[in-house]
């Protein structure tokens, strides 16, 4: 980003579901992205997955109309050296996130803002272990990021105004509205939603209703947009379990202990839409 060209330069760490979703949002808003992924197979098929997401964005009528920006994929954190904002979207594991963000901190300018897309880990907990804790804040993008216009923004107790302003400019460029909330396990959305999904899965586990019936009741009677278990498939059941563990460890709330059915699905590789099967089966999305 320069005075002549105010478009922020963005780097995204991790080409999983969220990394691809955020990258899609940025590219179609004219924000160039360096997408860093260490797994060669994931890195190789990331452009094709982004193409599919761009098609979905067009189908749903949410393309911004701006010229599409350039995508560069890279294998190393060194590839994001020139970024104004770096968003990490890697596995929901505090140690892995700290290691990645520490490496980024040693690579980028001191003006570069660091963003964690964690759904559950408190920002201050991560920031305390970083060389520049003031550079970090949390932006919880939802999936698909290009369909959901609001994001949850978490400013840690040590986050600088400069980092917050930089991320604010990025969100403006991405056409997203940030809702600022206080730091803490799960912030607002995961604290409320993930526990509820765990309860919904427990109802299925106990044999009291099918996944379809749980979702139908939650949709038709209570106005939930997709139903909790279809949402679980969209989040990724493995990611959901990781998040529930973070919540359970940090709050002691037994309602957040991942239920048996969720654990069985993770062990069986039934991770939701991305694996073709979760609470539902998905034949078309992988082809």
């Amino acid at each position: 980003m320069t005075e002549e060209d105010p478009t922020p330069r963005l780097a995204v760490l991790g080409a999983g579901v969220m990394g691809v979703s955020i990258t899609t949002l940025a590219l179609e808003h004219g924000v160039p992205v360096v997408l860093v992924e260490t797994d060669p197979a994931k890195r190789a098929d990331a452009p094709a997955r982004i193409e599919r997401e761009l098609r979905t964005a067009q189908l749903m009528g949410v393309r911004s109309g701006k010229p599409r920006a350039e995508l560069v994929t890279g294998a190393s954190v060194a590839d994001c050296a020139d970024a104004d904002v770096v968003i990490e979207a890697i596995t929901e594991d505090a140690d892995l996130k700290i290691a990645a963000l520490t490496e980024v901190s040693h690579t980028v300018d001191e003006d570069t803002a660091l963003v964690t897309n964690t759904s559950s880990i408190p920002v201050d907990e991560l920031a305390a272990k970083l060389p520049r804790p003031e550079a970090l804040l949390g932006v919880h993008f939802m999936n698909p990021s290009y369909l959901i216009r609001t994001v949850e923004v978490i400013r840690g107790s040590r986050t600088s105004s400069r980092a917050a302003d930089s991320v604010g400019r990025l969100l403006t460029a991405l056409g997203r509205r940030g809702v600022f909330v206080g730091d803490g396990p799960g912030f607002v959305t995961s604290r409320v939603l993930h526990r509820m999904i765990n309860d919904a899965a427990r109802v299925v586990q106990e044999g009291r209703a099918s996944a379809e019936d749980v979702d139908t009741l939650m949709q038709d009677c209570l106005g939930h947009r997709t139903g909790p278990l279809r949402t679980a498939d969209l989040i990724g059941i493995d990611n959901l379990v990781d998040s529930l563990r973070v919540l359970h460890e940090r709050t002691g709330d037994e309602g957040c202990r991942p239920c048996e059915l969720l654990l069985r699905k993770v062990a069986a590789g039934e991770h939701g839409r991305k694996s073709g099967k979760g609470f539902y089966t998905y034949t078309g999305v992988l082809s």
Binding site: Q58, L59, M60, G61, P144, L147, Q219, Y282, G284
Partner: protein
Amino acid sequence: MSEPTTTPPLSAEHVRTELRRFLEERTKTDWAADTDLFATGGVSSLFAMELVVHVEKTFGIAVEGPDLRIDNFRTVNAMTDLVLRLAEAGSGE
């Protein structure tokens, strides 16, 4: 001795039947051909891309450019019109 075979043109009835079969299999609902799949809440908008991929693979068409919009997938009839139009355009090339 076998007769030479040619691919018969797609009929609206065939396309409609196939689409309704697919929708019933995936959503456990028998959809009327003119019912808005998305307005009733019975079909998630996230299912829409699956529908696109299914239509492309099943009928050998490519849905691109301005055709790639949700209104073309809102009802079985709308999808049928799209498939017939793209199949006819493809066979004329």
